[in-house]
């Protein structure tokens, strides 16, 4: 029996059009860096070399939500020190490479299981809200979708409303994501004090993105090697839902993660032939539009043409 000739049994992209960089505008663009923001990255877990690499790849700034350090902290003083690191030291490290560093304050969903400690931490957060790089409250959210986590989530929302802060939200991982995202949306939708366009719900995937966007919130796609989105699937979501109110981030942290994942997304957009204006909207204009709603956000675009930074 003769089998059909296996289609594609040659190197991927082996037709001339795809491999000749002089003929293909997409590949020329792929060699040029584009300015971008990483709206969710945990630089406290990264080295100074990473700041340098990000700057070389076109990153102009980042926002760093407060998160779980990989171990539970024992007291409110640990959080105070962490908030000092986020509002002072990280800004200086970023500044060494011309990067703008912004941050968000909270006790994360995992440690929020400890209600008493969480309430102590929430009490000190107002001390930091006037720091020039603080954009709001985050990343709050759910982890295992428990009653304690929901209680502290709601108390963070009260804090954000009281101080007129923007909100950045972590949604749970893997099998807990769908349930947790729906629970988070229930709590947000049930609060008429919130301005939905000032809230970002992060780590959306195929089964949660529609719910977040339909309810009027911003949605973030996290490019993570195993547990979240890949660059290709993130581009799929852009193609299916359009570019409005969508952000992409690396969530680079202490675990397996890639701080340069946003440039991977940019490359995938270009390889598929999406226009530069669309890529730029998602990785640069959208973050600026969202962050600009925070009174502490200020940003002057670099005075260097993008092509010069490759």
């Amino acid at each position: 029996m003769s089998r059909p000739k296996a289609h594609g049994l040659q190197p991927v992209g082996s037709n001339d059009h795809n491999i000749d960089p002089t003929k293909n505008i997409k590949y020329r663009q792929a060699l040029t860096n584009m300015y971008y923001f990483d709206p969710h990255i945990h630089m406290v877990s990264r080295t100074t070399d990473d700041y340098e690499t990000l700057a070389k790849m076109g990153c102009v700034g980042m926002s760093e939500p407060a998160f779980w350090a990989g171990f539970d902290r024992g007291s409110v003083d640990s959080f105070r020190d962490y908030f000092c690191q986020l509002t002072d030291f990280e800004q200086k490290r970023a500044g060494m490479y011309g990067l703008k560093h912004f941050t968000w304050m909270c006790i994360n969903a995992k440690e929020a299981e400890n209600v008493q400690l969480s309430r102590e931490v929430i009490k000190i957060i107002p001390d930091f809200l006037d720091c020039p790089n603080v954009l709001g409250i985050g990343e709050i959210g759910l982890n295992k979708n428990t009653k304690n986590e929901a209680t502290i989530f709601l108390e963070h929302i009260d804090l954000a409303v009281e101080y007129s802060q923007q909100i950045l939200i972590h949604t749970p991982h893997l099998e807990d994501k769908f349930q947790g995202t729906r629970m988070i949306l229930d709590m947000l939708n049930g609060d008429s004090r919130l301005e939905r366009n000032r809230v970002l719900v992060d780590h959306v995937e195929e089964h949660t993105v529609r719910h977040v966007l339909d309810d009027g919130y911003w949605a973030g796609m996290t490019l993570y090697p195993v547990s979240k989105c890949t660059p290709a699937r993130a581009v799929d979501l852009i193609e299916m839902y359009g570019p409005e109110r969508l952000l992409v981030n690396s969530a680079g942290d202490w675990g397996p993660s890639k701080p340069t994942a946003v440039p991977d997304f940019i490359l995938e957009m270009r390889r598929r032939g999406h226009p530069e204006s669309l890529v730029r909207k998602i990785v640069y204009e959208n973050p600026i539009e969202f962050f600009s709603q925070s009174s502490n956000f200020s940003f002057t675009p670099p005075n260097v043409p993008e092509a010069a930074i490759q």
Binding site: V12, T151, Q179, M240
Partner: protein, 84 residues
């Protein structure tokens, strides 16, 4: 929003990648089979089976459906249950 790559181009670009991913899954199943003991009753194996059946369907949102297969159920009444 239109997808700029025509279907044949997507297939050209991704043929070897998809082939490699299928092989990885096949080899993983073989590895489970070769190991001592049995996982037949493990509910995760049933999830795999359901996901594979979804792959063979011709619906447009297979990725979303597979996400749902691996998700815990959401109950609308959770707030009453928790009292929050």
């Amino acid at each position: 929003m239109p997808q700029p790559m025509p279907a044949p181009d997507v297939l050209d670009r991704e043929f070897l990648e998809i082939r490699a991913k299928l092989l990885e899954v096949a080899a993983s199943f073989d590895r489970i089979d070769r190991g001592e003991g049995s996982v037949e009753g493990d509910p995760r194996m049933a999830l795999y089976r359901e996901a594979l059946e979804t792959l063979l369907s011709d619906q447009p949102n297979r990725a979303e459906q597979i996400q749902q297969i691996f998700s815990r159920q959401y109950e609308e009444s959770w707030r009453t249950k928790f009292g929050v």
